[in-house]
């Protein structure tokens, strides 16, 4: 079965013009995927590997390092806000190597797809992923669907890539600051074992995700989930989303830990979440789903990056061991900062 074929459109300046002027280049395409459309907002070139020259990468397809591009994808993944994601890969090469080595392209796409995750939560449905391969050469900008299933990538025939001017201006950003305060007991088996602590934390974040899915959202003070998102109210830059839990439902009751040995807490603190959706296409319900996903993603990523940082400084083992004096050890995950991008949109980064 073929996967759904959505309409694909790309920003005139940041994709078409960019590719025309770029020469040999390989990188990622970023944009928004909705039920009917791929809207490609920009191309992000993969930086050259240290000690190499960018041009060297594209003399022939053998020099393309799909693992390196995959790593690039992993890092860029973390910079995405809700609603925006890596849609695929672009390659700009006068030699038109993409046509000649589809197999290599398939490997490239597969490598990138494996790296587009958020924390431990895959961003795309498990049954099949679809990415876009944009290839430009000799003033033509084309694209293909690349369907990935069971580890194999199936390329589709090429089509012309439509362009639209100022595509990013069709998007509005919504934001919220979600108060998180999780306190999770650790059973005896998890004590002093950072990996087991990580498993327990993941479970708690997963429970938060389930409970969050039952919460109501008010957008700019109004509850209507089926309303189409209109323009951002005057005096604001973003739609403001508030999340409420009902007094009638308590969510999922966590399992009691058998003789808890320690406790790990995440919070109290605020998780800033943002998402960008196409104005007048998206409903408030879609904003709600995107923002909730972004909250969970961001929380998960912070824990990921904390673990990576502790690993790098060899502090991981000591950070989750018992203290003789029964004090509390406080670790500080990175906080999120938002960086303006493409005039009105954002990417983010995490800063220790």
């Amino acid at each position: 079965t073929t996967m759904q074929q959505r309409t694909v459109v790309a920003d005139k300046d940041n994709v078409h013009e960019f590719l025309r002027n770029k020469g040999d280049s390989i990188g990622l395409v970023i944009g928004s995927r909705t039920a009917n459309t791929y809207a490609i907002l920009a191309c992000v070139p993969t930086p050259a590997q240290p000690g190499t020259d960018e041009k060297d990468n594209l003399q022939n397809s053998d020099t393309i390092d799909e693992e390196w591009v995959g790593e690039h994808a992993r890092q860029v993944s973390r910079m995405m806000i809700g609603g925006i994601s890596i849609l695929g890969v672009y390659i700009s090469s006068p030699a038109d190597i993409s046509e000649k080595s589809l197999g290599k392209m398939a490997n490239l796409i597969t490598s990138v797809s494996q790296n587009i995750t958020s924390g431990n939560i895959p961003l795309l449905p498990a049954e099949g992923k679809q990415l876009i391969l944009v290839h430009a050469s000799r003033n033509k900008v084309l694209y293909r669907y690349m369907d990935i299933k069971g580890g194999f990538c199936k390329p589709h025939p090429s089509s012309d890539l439509k362009s639209e001017a100022n595509l990013h201006q069709a998007f509005d950003v919504s934001s919220c600051s979600f108060q998180v305060d999780l306190a999770v007991p650790l059973p005896q088996a998890a004590k002093d074992d950072p990996d087991k602590v990580r498993t327990v934390l993941n479970k708690a974040i997963s429970l938060l995700k389930t409970n969050l899915s039952q919460c109501e959202c008010y957008t700019n003070g109004e509850p209507s989930p089926n309303a189409i998102m209109n323009d951002v109210p005057k005096g604001r830059q973003q739609h403001i989303v508030d999340i409420y839990s009902s007094s009638q439902t308590c969510g999922v009751v966590p399992e009691a830990a058998h003789s808890p040995a320690a406790m790990v807490s995440l919070g109290p603190g605020g998780v800033h979440a943002r998402c960008a959706l196409r104005r007048r296409e998206a409903k408030a319900r879609d904003v709600e789903a995107c923002i909730k996903d972004d909250i969970i993603d961001s929380l998960s990523r912070r824990v990921d990056m904390l673990y990576e940082d502790l690993s790098r400084t060899n502090d991981l083992a000591t950070s989750f061991t018992s203290t003789k004096t029964h004090t509390t050890r406080v670790l500080v995950p990175p906080r999120r900062v938002f960086i303006p991008w493409l005039g009105g949109l954002y990417v983010c980064d995490y800063v220790f």
């Binding site: 009902s246 308590c250 966590p254 790990v264 989750f320």
Partner: protein, 557 residues
Amino acid sequence: MSCVAMRSCGVMPTDAWREERDRLAGIIPVGLDIVGFYLFGTDPSLSLSTFVSYQHVRSALTQPLHTYDHSADAHITPQKSSLCGIIIYGDEPPASLPFSLFTYSPSPPDVASDLQLVSPDICNATQLLHSNYNLVHFPFNTILDIISSPDRISTDLQQCMDNLSSKLLNPSNIFKCSSSISTHLPDLSISRLDVLVKLTNNSSQPSPAPSLSYSDVDAKATHITMPLRGHVCGYVLPSLSPSQVGAIIAPALLNQMGHMARGAMLAPKTQPTIYHFQPPGYGHIISTCYMIEPGSIAEDYLGKQRAELHDLLLFPHDRPLLRTTNAILFTGPAPKSQASSSSSSSNHLLDVHLPLPTSSKVDGRQALVQGSYEYYHYMQDDIDDRGWGCAYRSLQTICSWLRLQHYTNRPEPSHLEIQQLLVRIGDKPPSFVGSSQWIGAFELSLCLDTLYSITCRILNLSSGAELASRGRELAAHFASEGSPVMIGGGVLAYTLLGVDWNESTGAVRFLILDPHYIGPDQGKGIRDKGWCAWKGPDIFRKDSFYNLCMPLRPKMI
């Protein structure tokens, strides 16, 4: 409006008074408060002035029942300017309590000079409550999730409850009131409070990013998680906004959560469940927290809890009032097409006698059936029992009364089931089943005993004329037992629902519910045509014997 017995009177230490008040605060809804007290005892030195001279007593009585203030507070600020007080000497509490008012001041009052009579308005308190106030109910669902060690558990629990409660009633939450009804309380204006708890903080001063902390836990600590499904009630002025209602409910919420959590800690396999009751004739709602064992029948093991409550609330111990089946249920607003006349899910009319005039025709007093019953008569339920089924129908009416008083859940037996039962216990031969043979008061008493373990008093009268002189006995029956009576004679059977009796002249009239009626179940027609009506003693034939089956209330709660 109601009287509550404190566990022991006299001089209790301050902590005990506070415990009593906390307990009371859990039972009495928000909006109501202690307005007075009564003292009852046999000690001649018991005096009003001595009693109120104890500081902690005055403090316990004058502070509002629903308050956040748990701090030990010896300083008394008279919150109420007056209390009702009455002191009674004797061996037995009297049936009714006259109240007198005295003005209260920080120094012990001079009782003699301050007595005044209470205005009649206070006696109509229930009516005032129902017409001037809304009943608000707030069902909530939250999770108790706590890690604590045995030595810290009560502090940690209190802390947890405080947090949960303030999270639920934070002013930045959204409060909504929607209309609600209860079939138990048809005349009351009821609304349900819902709260949307805000989980985001989008103010200009955002909170700092969350940190991850890791801490050891006491070796003796345990982790407890359980859902707390509670339900707070209160009487509030209709003019209040939903968030003001939330603020008023707050102390009751905290109190109830505390009760539930502490109850759950003491009995871990049970689930604390809140029930609300308003027994017939009682002035207001009372709330209780029963510890329910999931999967078992609550009524069986809650007997002790019910008995304690019956004592506390001065309820008689001869009728079920606080079983889970007595509980009030609240639902969403009724669709407009719902008929206003109350009838149960069956097609039998409920309490068909009620609209009849209550004034005595013999210058005496009416003594009526207490509680609800359903009207059973000929031809109902697709059974043609014309000419022989009247006593069966009367029995079914009595069984419906037992069910509606919550003595049983069993549905009323059919004619066939009644006959099969009498054969099974050996009273009738097997040919009785399927026949159109009559039954009498004796057979009724056998059935009631077998089915429900109910004892009946049988009255054998050799002539119908004797009934005219049995006014006192029948009035006493309705006053103490209040159950419908079957009158069966050589000719007919009737159901007796009450008597109108003049003590001095002996004149008596009978409220008869006639099971011989054939026709549609419409109350007005039935009453107008005399099928449920007051009749004089002349309806009983002098030349026939009559046997009365008078069921006695089982002494159970």
